[in-house]
Homo-oligomer: 154 residues x 2
DNA sequence: CGCAGATTGTTATGCTGGTAAACAATCAGA
DNA sequence: TCTGATTGTTTACCAGCATAACAATCTGCG
């Protein structure tokens, strides 16, 4: 501690903060999030909307409650997300015969198309951003992040 | 794609989303952030406030603009953070003789103490959360996250 | 059957953590 | 001395959540 404010290469200094996983995780997350937004453009989907669409395409006829559980957010928060996806014409809320409470989320053809297109764009941007890392490093990073997720999501 | 909604072990499925660094980064970040909050308790500092204090302790007499640049946020966003730190008695805005625009951030003794105490608590919680990872894995994760940061923060 | 309790989608409200734009005060340089 | 940049600050705004309540509906139990 107690280095001076004029220190220009603070990033190279072994600070306490710099050793915390959480701090580095957040800083990295901010960068990748900005990259994501750039990938999908100004009127593109946000990360949460893309995630929801992606899961709805992968698990058609999923309900909002199930989707919220998968995304780790509350049901109430999913309403506006599904609203947006429906407005964009990417999926429909359709009534389910057996249970009049739920409305199944059924992706449209447009939705499926938009999903793969967005995925391609995001992957391309992510690859460009992370070209400083080898394929093995990316794989390792993925594995370690999933290890944290396993710990937190049970 | 096009697996069915009844699939219970979706986490084990090699979905498109699950392969994205950004998605896994966010999910992991959410978990570690929750752990951080738990570490510092209900009326404890938020992550941003702790980061600001930590950097102010490390670089005493730093200005708000410099600190904002270090944290990667706007000057305006730092005002309320420094307000809170000043209210908690952890630092003071003091006038600088040479330049009447700036006010140097000077941590108090209490601030320094609170900083190391908070750091200890956060580290302990982080260690407990990440006990599924070896020391080498944690080191690797840190290295890879910093690699992303280098890419994004120049 | 009838009824208690759980579940679903939804609304309203509020919080956190930011950004963007404007502002006066001040400084630096030609 | 004038122009332009910088600093701290206020104000307004937005995204991305959580929480609590609600009616409609389902489920299971006696």
């Amino acid at each position: 501690m107690a280095r001076h404010a004029e220190n220009q290469n603070w990033k190279l200094v072994a600070s306490d903060l710099e050793d915390l996983i959480g701090y580095n995780l957040k800083r990295a997350y901010v960068i990748v999030r900005a990259d994501f937004r750039e990938a999908l453009g100004d009127d593109g989907m946000s990360a949460r909307v893309f995630s929801a669409l992606s899961l709805a395409v992968e698990f058609p006829n999923i309900t909002q409650s199930e989707l919220a559980r998968m995304m780790g957010i509350e049901r109430s928060g999913l309403v506006s997300i599904v609203d947006e996806l429906e407005q964009r014409g990417f999926l429909n809320r359709v009534a389910v015969p057996g249970d009049r409470r739920v409305q199944a989320l059924v992706p449209t053809q447009e939705g499926r198309f938009a999903c793969v297109e967005a995925l391609k764009a995001v992957r391309a941007h992510e690859d460009a951003l992370l070209d400083v890392m080898t394929a093995k490093e990316k794989e390792t990073l993925l594995k370690l992040l999933k290890k944290i997720r396993m710990r937190g999501e049970g």
